[in-house]
């Protein structure tokens, strides 16, 4: 946290996280009062100890579980085909733009007569897909850069980090926005890519940080001393110990990407094809109706909020659990 390392101030949450990995062993030692043979295990074990009793974590986990299950089974339990304009004949822009609740359609339909409940249920699927894939893409991208930088240091490091700096110098939403705009044919994929791209530099910095923290830690030095190849050192010794913070970040990113996706379709950069419903898209599309038929926006919004909250709760409590500093 000293200016000697310029962009640290950028998202110091990242570096906080990064630091935890490095100090794991030290922490373990301080905890047990004696040198612990295998830091990783005891760390996770004790983390789990704390998590089991943290209400924050339990709530988060519960929400997430429900969400994932829903995403898997929703097509089976959805009362109607979410793409079928079943109530289209009732739609009249003036008299009745949004068909209301009625037998068989507890929440009514949307502006082209598709069953709202079914769309909400099935929406969980695409939403999960967006979240998960955005995270995966962001992670892989970030890992590649981060490992390059963290593992080799030197000019590779500074080159990669300059690139990261440039990316980080653009406010994240703006970046997503810009990338989504490039898509000549907007689709779910382009949305995912845009959202993921924002996460790449963050993951990169995160990994690099925690790996640098370890370059000089005992077990890595030891491994080197034993003449383990650089590659092995990186993948067998440094990477595994950097994973804690990465996992935490990932859970948080799951939430962020779902929200960002919503923001994109609010700005009209979302996936134009709405046969496969996605909550963010539903929310974005509800804009024209928000005044007379707010429910059209409120339902998907609530879904997003709850799910995002779920992931964030998990991530935050995970982070606290893994962070030795908060263990006294």
């Amino acid at each position: 946290m000293t200016p000697a390392n310029p962009m640290t101030r950028r998202k110091d949450r990242i570096d906080d996280l990064a630091a935890t990995a490095g100090s794991d062993r030290a922490a373990a030692v301080r905890e047990a009062g004696s040198v612990d043979e295998k830091p990783g295990v005891s760390l996770i074990a004790s983390a789990w100890q704390r998590l089991r009793r943290s209400p924050v974590f339990l709530i988060g986990a519960a929400i997430t579980l429900v969400f994932v299950v829903l995403a898997l089974v929703s097509p089976l339990i959805a009362p109607h085909d979410p793409a079928a304009n079943l109530l289209l004949d009732q739609v009249r822009p003036q008299s009745n733009p949004i068909p209301g609740p009625q037998p068989g359609y507890p929440l009514g339909a949307d502006d082209v007569g598709r069953d709202l409940l079914s769309r909400l249920l099935v929406g969980s699927q695409q939403t999960l897909i967006v979240g998960v894939f955005a995270t995966i893409f962001g992670l892989t991208g970030g890992m590649t850069l981060g490992i390059l930088a963290g593992a080799f240091g030197g000019w590779v490091d500074s080159l990669v980090m300059r690139i990261v700096d440039v990316l980080l110098s653009i406010p994240s939403l703006l970046l997503a926005f810009s990338i989504a705009a490039l898509a000549t044919r907007p689709s779910q994929l382009t949305v995912i890519i845009a959202v993921a791209a924002v996460q790449v530099p963050i993951f990169a910095r995160l990994l690099r940080g925690s790996m640098l923290a370890q370059r000089h830690s005992d077990h890595v030095l030891a491994a080197r001393a034993l003449g383990v190849t650089e590659r092995a050192v990186v993948f067998r010794h440094m990477l595994p110990n950097s994973l804690g913070p990465v996992i935490v970040q990932s859970t948080l990113v799951l939430a962020v990407s779902i929200i960002d996706a919503a923001a994109l379709s609010f700005l009209g950069l979302g996936n134009p094809n709405d046969r496969q419903p996605e909550w963010g898209q539903m929310l974005g599309r509800a804009q024209p109706f928000i005044y007379d038929n707010p429910h059209l926006a409120v339902y998907p919004a609530l879904c997003i909020i709850v799910v995002a909250l779920g992931f964030t709760l998990m991530g935050e409590s995970l982070r606290e659990a893994l962070d030795p500093k908060t263990r006294r």
Partner: protein, 335 residues
């Protein structure tokens, strides 16, 4: 310190330069463009060709960039084609900036005024129900899509109950403009109703925009207070029998504030650069809104300067944060 400053400045220049190149390529890679944005349905091949030529968009890209760079170095960032046709892009940025600063400032006040005290309370009562409650609350703040929150606020407090204005920065009161900070102008010109109107317009957007910074500041405060509470020097202070007030003030908070200051700085950067959603919902005449418009109409010059400026503001603020950090933290100062 001096060396560090110079290094940072150089770095900044580099970042901005690389960015400008990326930006330029990006703009040209965008589907469509100024020409069709201007011509609309009326476009005929002839008019399109003529316009393309007139706008110099037919030249090879590096030539265009060269020209852009040359002009930019002379403070000329081109002319708006659609946001405010014929206006100098730089001027547009300068007239919009105060709006965004004003909004960000109020949003930040909101975030800090709540974030730090609550963060401290949460840390003192770590793992208590109060703590968990506050943490969850703050996380809800993060989980709500900003634009939805904005809509919600607008709907509740502006449309349903007419407590606050729906959108914009000020009622049409024929106010005198000096700095384009409406609240300030009102005070300077003694047109207090202008200030009042501006304030009323600020409330809802500030809250909408301030929620995420609030959550972040809250969490950082909580975390760093937690850390400091466990530090040896706090124990030392206690062992000296110092009063609770002194221990908290001089030993706990003063150390805990370091990362918080950092974060506040960071958030400021984000706010100034990224208020697109809030500004759009509240039709706020700031940079974010201009960005959205410029983007919709493919107004290259305006996009260019706005994004560059956003990045620049962002990097500069980071630098300022580092400096302020150095000023607060003696360890850095004397290194």
């Amino acid at each position: 310190m001096a060396r560090f400053l110079i290094r940072r400045l150089l770095q900044m220049v580099l970042v901005v330069f690389v960015l400008s190149v990326m930006l330029f390529l990006w703009l040209r890679a965008l589907p469509g463009g100024t020409v069709s944005a201007i011509l609309g349905e009326r476009a005929t091949p002839e008019t399109r060709a003529a316009l393309t030529k007139a706008l110099g968009l037919d030249e090879p890209i590096w030539v265009q960039y060269g020209k852009f760079l040359w002009r930019a170095l002379h403070g000329d960032f081109g002319t708006s084609t659609r946001v405010l046709p014929g206006a100098d892009a730089l001027d547009i940025f300068l007239t919009r900036l105060p709006a965004t600063i004003e909004l960000s400032a109020f949003a930040l006040v909101f975030a800090v005024a709540l974030g730090i005290p609550l963060g401290y309370v949460a840390a003192r009562r770590a793992n208590s129900p109060v703590d968990s409650g506050l943490v969850i609350l703050s996380l809800v703040g993060v989980a709500v899509p900003v634009f939805f929150l904005a809509f919600f606020l607008k709907y509740q407090f502006a449309v349903d109950h007419n407590w606050f204005p729906v959108s914009g920065r000020q009622d049409n009161l024929s106010c005198t403009r000096i700095t384009n900070f409406f609240v300030l102008d009102g005070l300077l010109t003694r047109e207090l109703d202008c200030s009042a109107s501006a304030l009323k317009h600020l409330v809802l957007p500030s809250i909408a925009l301030g929620t995420i910074p609030f959550a972040v500041i809250f969490r950082i405060t909580r975390a760093s207070v937690l850390d400091v509470l466990g530090e040896d020097y706090v124990r030392t202070a206690e062992s000296k029998g110092l009063t609770a007030r002194v221990v908290r003030g001089r030993h706990v908070l003063r150390n805990a504030m370091l990362p918080v200051v950092t974060t506040i700085g960071l958030q400021t950067g984000l706010l100034l650069a990224g208020a697109v959603l809030t500004e759009k919902v509240f039709n706020w005449g700031g940079i974010g809104n201009a960005l959205a418009d410029a983007f919709q109409y493919r107004d290259y010059s305006v996009l260019q300067i706005l994004i560059l400026a956003a990045a620049l503001i962002y990097v500069v603020i980071n630098l300022l944060v580092d400096i302020s950090y150095a000023i607060i933290d003696p360890r850095v100062r004397t290194r």
